[in-house]
Symmetry: C2
Subunit: 397 residues, 2 copies
């Protein structure tokens, strides 16, 4: 019997308990042993829950119980989640988590701590919810030099953008509806400003390139400035606007950023709608592979956490990944990134052509002129843009 | 240093050699050891190849060289590939393969042989080419009861169907073009009649349900009878016709089949076009996840084979899967399968309604009437269909 403790009995924590219970026999058949939930750590009591008798309020009970070999951290937030995780690893307990903040901020330290203590640290659920993407990237694509990762990594913003694109709602209206449906939180900043997506692309980049860039160093733009006019202009030109977390290898340096980008309709990422997530990975042997699924939600996220538990239960001896912190000279300068741009200016078409040269006009109305530029370095684009009166400017994926 | 032998120096075998060479340093960094190609087995010599000095013609040289710990089988065909694989496993060498025929026919035996000899047998490349799907299904979705798998598993037929759908070409014209482009073989039977897709869905089903059904027991229909009229009727009703390998859990029994099916446009599988493959998996916790990528080709397939080599090199101790042969009473009767149907008859709309009851008309012209039925058991559908003059009938996914 393998004893597990769940830290946090919120949405994800209760999902983990439910999956472990509902699929108990199936899991036992797979690994040849029963997985038992011994403790659930939470500040609250849950007298009506079937797991009421498992609830404890003191982490030390878990930490000091040698029978507990796996800890599933589903608390959210950086502290004390990171401290509890580190303490558990140091006590020789493997840790699994869905907490992208912890992994993006301290994944390098926690992986090293796990390795030093002969245990494992896994976090499949931290990116893409239930979509298997971190393990496939780390193992199935291990023979590839990863050229690029482009991901729709946040379901809330993707829902809002889909409402804007498909039903012509403004950002404000779509956000309010997302909040009413429970897809967006009362304080939606982490989602709509790209902070959540940023953490996830940092994790993906660390797996691809072996170096963890701190989210604070990643150029991150959310979707709150996206206007309905931009969505319509993009559609007229054959693109959907999606919030894309991007990690690229540019001349053996890491380029990582989060921004709303125009995705051509013939790219399947453009069709990943509503709360779904999609991650498009390009490797030098495999070319493009795309993973799509529910990027959040109780059961999908729990599915990934429990898969990590099953993985550890079945093979505790496997090596952890080894991440270093990304130093400044590991990073490609943003200014060197080459892209074409969608631009909307309050200049005339003639003025725009005089500034940007060879452009593809999309539309001209209400004193705005929208167009697509040729590909150029970001530095050059900014130089040209400074000569125009730019209303919106977005990279083309 | 880990010594590998490649069996067969055709498209896949030379891709394996190329990926191992091109990404040598990257792989060495990952596993901490160099992977060395010691032998390449082929009947031919390749005097102009950079690997010319590795080529041997006698399998016993590989079998009896204790330095070779991993054999990559890329010969194709059932014999002698299966015999060489078994012999290598019995000599304590792990085996990786892209050969779906061998895995679908003898995977259960080879997995048991590997386990008995303390080595591994892996075959990620046998389904979906470079798309990571077998390992994610077996590990990342391990906490799920798998409800269904629906896959576009054959690039040749998907290319032909895409040409029919997008450009109005007939099957015959599209097939000829596929042959000219090298997407279809001179004898295209295994592809167009669904035999290749059948082997792949058998492998997926074995991972999902732990039992390997022999391809000969799987109801398999190809695309050679698909008429342009059916493609157009489907499009008018909002569907694309795709060759779908399907495995379902029906009341804890396995249902496996291959057939062209109508896929609604709002299902992303309908958008997986050309030579791309897509596998849609539904689990009881994760809901839907979709994997898309190049299902064939030298480098994508080699990417998956080499990932298996890297996996074994990094962790040779992991357990193999354990498959039993599916017995007749493991299988759900085809007649019980519930689907809605697309039907085209040479009866009138009135006659069709009298026979099939509540139907959704699609079109009526040139003496043909096309419609969609309600969902019903296959047995019932066949009973009703026997009363009409059916030109075409296809399941709706």
């Amino acid at each position: 019997m393998i004893n597990v403790a769940i830290l946090g009995f919120g949405v994800v924590g209760s999902g983990i308990a439910e999956v472990l219970t509902q699929n108990k026999d199936l899991i036992k058949n797979k690994i040849g042993e029963e997985i038992n939930i011994k403790y659930i750590l939470d500040l609250r009591d849950f007298p009506d829950s079937p797991f009421a008798d498992k609830v404890v309020h003191d982490f030390n009970i878990i930490l000091n119980d040698e029978e507990v070999s796996i800890v599933a951290e589903a608390m959210g937030g950086l502290h004390p989640a990171v401290d509890f995780s580190e303490a558990a690893l140091k006590k020789g307990k493997s840790v699994v988590t869905s907490n992208k903040e912890v992994v993006a901020e301290a994944g390098d330290m926690l992986l090293k701590t796990a390795t030093e203590n002969g245990v494992r640290y896994l976090f499949e659920a931290s990116v893409g919810g239930g979509i298997p993407v971190l393990r496939p990237l780390g193992t199935c694509l291990a023979a590839n030099k990863i050229n690029s990762i482009n991901g729709i990594l946040n379901g809330t913003t993707n829902y809002i953008l889909t409402q804007m694109i498909d039903f012509g709602k403004t950002f404000e209206v779509a956000l309010k509806e997302a909040q009413q449906k429970g897809y967006a939180e009362a304080n939606p900043t982490a989602d709509v400003e790209g902070i959540d997506a940023c953490r996830k692309i940092c994790i993906l980049a660390a797996i691809a390139f072996g170096k963890l860039i701190n989210p604070s160093k990643v150029s991150t733009t959310g979707i709150s400035k996206i206007r309905l006019e931009d969505v319509k202009n993009a559609a007229n030109a054959g693109y959907a606007i999606k919030l894309i977390g991007q990690a690229k290898d540019i001349d053996s340096k890491m380029y990582v950023s989060v921004a709303p980008r125009l995705v051509a309709y013939n790219n399947l990422l453009a069709k990943v709608d509503d709360v779904f997530n999609g991650v498009l990975i390009n490797g030098n042997a495999v070319d493009d592979v795309l993973f799509i699924g529910r990027g959040a939600g109780m059961m999908p996220t729990a599915s990934a956490v429990v898969a990590d538990i099953v993985d550890i239960a079945g093979r505790p001896e496997i090596k952890n990944q080894n991440w270093d912190k990304a130093e400044d000279n590991d990073l490609a300068p943003l200014s060197e990134k080459i892209s074409a741009y969608y631009v909307c200016v309050s200049n005339t078409e003639e003025q725009a052509k005089a500034i940007f040269g060879d452009i593809k006009a999309i539309s001209s109305c209400d004193g705005e002129f929208a167009f697509i530029t040729n590909a150029m370095k970001k530095l050059q684009f900014e130089e040209l843009a400074s000569k125009a009166t730019v209303i919106s400017a977005l990279e083309i994926l």
